[in-house]
Structure formats: structure tokens, C-alpha cells
Symmetry: C2
Subunit: 200 residues, 2 copies
């Protein structure tokens, strides 16, 4: 009764790899089962549909990212750095965005979109905690924290994922972030360094 679990995981791994390399739409079930060396029927023994597979693959990705975000939350970083680090951590990992740039490609809108949605749902509570900490410390000053956090996430997603952003975008993002949370002006300028530096 354990073999099944292993097989399913194997299939999920293959699907994951293929989805992010060639894209969800460009990956056929036949591709997956060829790679796994199994028959159609076996595949459908483990999954109800291709879309359900996607759903589970995304679940896997999210889990990992949330885990990473959680450990940042528990770290001893200053609150603003924590928040920014968490936002940065939920950005698709390099291998997920660079391999043929599949994740952002137009043919992968669906996958990309689904990831974003589910990630936001999961991350809002974490960031809310961090922001509340900031309010207690007097660094931030605002109400309706979860709603504000969600809007921050929406902005950072759209700006940094979809468009080639400029320095002015960053300036505006920093300004807005400070104002959304009621932080002191320029207190989050450090974001600029984070963005400019690590793009190797």
C-alpha cells in the first residue's frame, strides 16, 4: 500500500518539471507517461484529469514557498526587512522562471495566475502577523492590515512579474508601500538595494 504513493509522487515530479520547462499547455499527458514509462490507464489511476494534476503540482510549489516564508517570519530580522524578504521569497524561483521563461509566457497564463492566487491567500496571514508586529513596535501605523497586505502583494506581483520594470516603478513601489503601512518616509528605501543587487 505504499508503492502507489511513490508512483504518484514520481508523476507529480515529472509533471512539475515539464510544466515549468515547456509550459502547462505544451505538455501532454502522453509526454508525461512517456517520461515515466507507464501507460495512460496508470496515469488516470492516480489523477482524475490533467487539470487536477496541475492543481496538485501547484500545491507542492506553494507548500515549499510557504515553508520558506514561515521561517523568515520566525527569524530575528527587523520587521520591514522581514516583510520584504517574504515578498521576495514568494517570487518564482529562478529555475521556475528562467527555463525558457515558461512561467511568464503567454501560453502559461493559467498556471501563473493560479499560482499567484493561491500564494496570495496563503501569504496574507503570514505577512499580516509581521505587519501587526510592526504596528506594535510603532514602525507602522494603519488599520485593516490584511486588506492592505493583499494590495501590497497584488502590486508587487503585477509590477515585478509581468512587466520589465523601471527604476521609477521601484521608487513608486517603495513610496506606496510606506504609505500603505503608514511607515516613515524613506524608511523602506532599503528595498532598492535588494532589487538592484541580486539579479545574477
Amino acid at each position: 500500500m505504499k508503492k502507489g504513493e511513490r508512483r504518484k509522487q514520481e508523476l507529480l515530479d515529472i509533471a512539475y518539471r515539464m510544466f515549468i520547462t515547456r509550459g502547462y499547455e505544451n505538455t501532454s499527458i502522453d509526454d508525461i507517461i512517456a517520461e515515466a514509462g507507464i501507460a495512460k490507464g496508470t496515469y488516470y489511476y492516480y489523477f482524475q484529469s490533467k487539470e487536477q494534476t496541475l492543481e496538485e503540482v501547484i500545491g507542492m510549489m506553494i507548500e515549499k514557498e510557504i515553508e520558506a516564508a514561515g521561517s523568515i517570519l520566525d527569524s530575528p530580522l527587523p520587521v520591514p526587512q522581514k516583510i520584504v524578504a517574504i515578498i521576495a521569497s514568494i517570487r518564482p524561483a529562478p529555475e521556475e522562471q528562467t527555463i525558457e521563461g515558461a512561467l511568464m509566457q503567454p501560453e502559461n497564463i493559467i498556471m501563473h495566475q493560479k499560482i499567484k492566487r493561491r500564494l496570495i491567500e496563503k501569504v496574507v496571514p503570514l505577512l499580516t502577523k509581521a505587519a501587526e508586529e510592526g504596528v506594535e513596535q510603532g514602525i507602522f501605523s494603519c488599520d485593516n492590515i490584511p486588506e492592505r497586505i493583499r494590495m501590497m502583494l497584488v502590486i508587487s506581483n503585477e509590477i515585478f512579474d509581468n512587466y520589465s520594470f523601471t527604476d521609477r516603478d521601484i521608487d513608486v513601489f517603495i513610496d506606496i508601500t510606506e504609505k500603505i503601512l503608514g511607515a516613515k518616509s524613506h524608511s523602506m528605501d532599503f528595498i532598492r538595494q535588494l532589487i538592484n543587487a541580486p539579479s545574477v
Copy 2:
């Protein structure tokens, strides 16, 4: 040499209607040609692919919406009202969102996403003009206006399109909008009425 144009328009109209009612994914070429009473070959005489049809259908929609937005821009409304009215006007028309709610349904992510992208590109310049007017009048105070406008649009899209939003979302949206543009606090409270009232 005119019959072709009419036929193409006819097909675009049918495609438009079907895409927004049953969704892009759920509409087959066969559906479209059955409705039009023509053969496959004829369809492909006018369109290279299904996706190109979608692209052109979206083009049609955008055109109309931009036209409406443009006339708002030229109206004698106060600047803040102008901006909000334009943002409201680019929201999918009632017939586009309510018929089976197809536009927002998960199976229509692609279409929805494409519309949003292209609409933002087109609307940013218009709203930028309005906002600049506001700065000249001393109602707003900010730099990097196009970038700020884009972020406003991103927020309003995400919040109002995708989730069932709450009163707190609206409060936060108003607050953020004021701060993004550097408007006086509570100067944009009128947004609340617009949202609560006209949902008939």
C-alpha cells in the same frame, strides 16, 4: 470586395457573444460556424487561428471602452470624479460579467487576463492626463504619475474583479488611492457611494 468585411464582422460578433457567454475555452470553432451557418474553410479564410479571433474580439471590446473613457476625459467633471469614472468605465460591462459570469470564471482566465493587460496599456495614458490636470490644480501632489496610475489600476482590477470585496477593502482602496496621488485625506470618500449604489 465588401462582402468579406461584412462576413468577418459577423463572425467577430458571433465569437464575441459566444466567448462572453460560454467562455473562450468552452466555445469551439464548430460552435461558431454552426451559428454563422458557414463551413470550416470559410472561417479559416478570415482567421488564422482561434486565438487570433480572440485577439481581434478583445480589440473590439477595448476600442469601445477606450472610446467611452475618452469622452469622460473630455467631460467637465472634477478631476477626481473623472478618474474614478474612467476606472469604473473600464470594468467589464454588465452583460459581459453577468451572463453566466463567464468572464470571471476560472476557465476564462486567459481572456480575462489579456483584456486586463491591453486595457491597462491603453488607459494609463488617459488617466495620466487627468492626474496631471489634478496636479496642476493642486488637488494632487505626486511625481511618476504613469507608474502610480498603473498601480492604481492593478489594484482596482484585482480587488474588484476577482474577489468578493468587503467594505474594508473599499476603505483601504480609498485610502491608498488618496495616498498614491497625494490627495487630501478623505477627499475621495465619494468613491464609496459609487460602489454601494449602482449595483442594480
